[in-house]
């Protein structure tokens, strides 16, 4: 049975047009259907502006869909909740709390019945899991971008959610840090086997981590392409992946889906394909 099920989900936003009282409706997502199994790692790949963040916000419950249904464990979702832990693109750490306190806040929120000792232990466990044990008492401004995102990952995992949602978590990081964090996430995931939905614009990242990749057609009115299965054992390594025939096939299909229907004069799409090809 699917743990998370989206059927016929659409979302439009009102954009202010010219003149008073006039607003234009822009359809961001149209008829999104998605079914995610327990312990599955799903990546949704799309170009910027295609409504990726809107999709993850809908699943998180931070915004409401205009139509369609989103079921978690067979029950319609009703607003945000810690059963869908979110790791935001901009980390969203509270700058006035230390690393420990940021993660502790999540642990405390989801497990109010735990003893003080258990809460501390759980907090420390997840901070150690992302290799930040030495930075426990630091505040976010003392940390690098990569370390901040590690804290955000620890906080997301510490909620012990049914589904972990990642919104382009590594896109603000430099290439080297991104690579390290991707492999670390691959390691953590193969140990914990959480259900994960991750949004990204990086095909290699998707192939490294995902069981299934969906592409999001260019907006407005974006919808999901067919499922692309990445058939390789976890945890994967970058080098090993580039040689695997199944991965090369998945990458070809993803690229084809992403560039399909995009006019060649669209410079943005051209850049997209080029940067991802090598």
């Amino acid at each position: 049975m699917a743990i998370l099920e989206l059927s016929g989900v659409s979302k439009s936003f009102a954009r202010n047009g010219r003149g008073k009282g006039r607003s234009v409706k822009v359809e961001v997502l149209r008829d999104i259907n998605l079914s995610i199994r327990e312990n599955e790692f799903v990546c949704i790949v799309g170009r910027s502006g295609s409504g990726k963040t809107t999709l993850i916000s809908l699943i998180a419950g931070l915004i409401k869909a205009d139509s369609g249904s989103i079921l978690l464990d067979g029950k319609p979702i009703d607003g945000p909740g810690p059963d869908r832990g979110v790791i935001f693109q901009n980390y969203s750490l509270l700058p006035w709390l230390s690393v420990f306190e940021n993660v502790y806040l999540a642990v405390d929120a989801v497990g109010p019945n735990l003893s003080e000792h258990e809460k501390r232990q759980r907090t420390e466990h997840y901070i150690n899991l992302v290799n930040l044990g030495a930075a426990m008492t630091k505040v976010p401004r003392e940390l690098s971008g990569g370390m901040r995102q590690r804290v955000a990952v620890a906080r997301g995992l510490a909620m012990e959610p049914k589904v972990l949602l990642l919104d382009e978590p590594f896109s603000a990081l430099d290439a080297l840090t991104r690579g390290t964090l991707q492999e670390e996430l691959a390691r953590i995931w193969s140990d914990t086997r959480k259900t994960v939905v991750m949004i990204t614009n990086d095909i290699d990242e998707a192939i490294l981590l995902a069981d299934t990749i969906y592409t999001l057609t260019p907006g407005p009115g974006a919808t999901l392409g067919p499922a692309i299965i990445v058939d390789a054992v976890h945890p994967r390594g970058r080098v090993q992946l580039s040689a695997l025939a199944s991965c090369q096939k998945a990458r070809r299909e993803t690229l084809r889906n992403l560039t399909a229907g995009v006019k060649s004069k669209d410079v943005g799409a051209g850049n997209f394909a080029v940067t991802l090809l090598h």
């Binding site: 945000p80 935001f88 969203s92 006035w96 709390l97 929120a109």
Partner: protein, 257 residues
């Protein structure tokens, strides 16, 4: 850190002060003969400065004694102002409806001079001390109200989303997210409110005749000892400057968060 002493940084302010003393002397010599010169001011005031803690009756005390009395009064009024102003600012920032209802009232009350509030305070409280505190509080609270409201309105959605995802209770959201996020704005408001409270103190003491720098100033005007007016004016300025600097230090501590 390398620290070079710029000769201009020392000399220019001294030059400015010297020029002010010159203009002051010139006015006292040529324009207003009743105005004591800087030298005469010093001669007639030195006992208040050199012996700042003497007390010879209610209205004849050393300058620091008067300053202390005024500061206590300002502190009371200021804490009253921020105790009312901070929650009020939070309500205005949180609720658009509350803001719509009370913004016009606030905009009208805000520009009213302390000189106008004080008689009203006397009518309400019948005594000079509570009336003075009322005046200080009601004049000084607006910067706190407005800055706190602005701070609450500019809390990043990303922080609020963290609270929503974790389903924090309203009290916990307030304690862990809203108050810390608003703190820098609140302290900017507090600094401006303290400056305002210090401005009001003189007016309040002058009209109520309470002992303090303002009361002393007014009494010496009535007894024609003009040098003591200048002494009070300078003391008020220096203390106001010091208060602002101290609050600035506190404010910066919270800005880094």
């Amino acid at each position: 850190m390398e620290k070079r002493i710029d000769s201009g940084a020392m000399i220019l302010p001294l030059l400015g002060i010297g020029l002010m003393l010159f203009i002051w002397t010139a006015i006292s010599l040529k324009v207003a003969p009743d105005l004591p010169s800087p030298l005469k001011t010093w001669q007639e005031s030195q006992q208040y400065i050199l012996n700042p803690f003497f007390k010879d009756g209610e209205m004849n005390q050393g300058i620091l004694r008067f300053a202390f009395l005024s500061l206590v009064r300002v502190a009371k009024g200021f804490f009253l102002a921020i105790a009312i102003g901070t929650p009020l600012g939070f309500l205005l920032g949180l609720s658009a409806k509350f803001n719509q209802a009370f913004d016009p009232v606030i905009q009208v009350l805000r520009p009213i001079s302390p000189l106008a509030w004080l008689p009203l305070g006397l009518v309400i409280f019948k005594q000079s001390e509570p009336a003075a505190l009322f005046t200080i509080a009601i004049c000084a609270m607006w910067p706190t109200v407005i800055n706190t409201a602005m701070g609450v309105r500019s809390i990043g959605t990303e922080y609020l989303n963290v609270g929503r995802v974790l389903k924090l209770s309203p009290m916990k959201t307030l304690r862990k997210i809203m108050i810390p996020a608003t703190l820098p704005y609140m302290f900017t408001g507090y600094r401006l409110s303290l400056g305002m409270a210090w401005l009001v103190i003189v007016a309040a003491e002058m009209l109520t005749g309470s002992p303090g720098l303002g009361g002393f100033l007014w009494q010496e005007y009535n007894s024609l000892v003009y040098s003591h007016i200048l002494l009070s004016v300078l003391a008020i300025g220096l203390i106001g400057f010091t208060l602002d600097r101290l609050m600035g230090v506190v404010e910066r501590r919270f800005k880094t968060a």
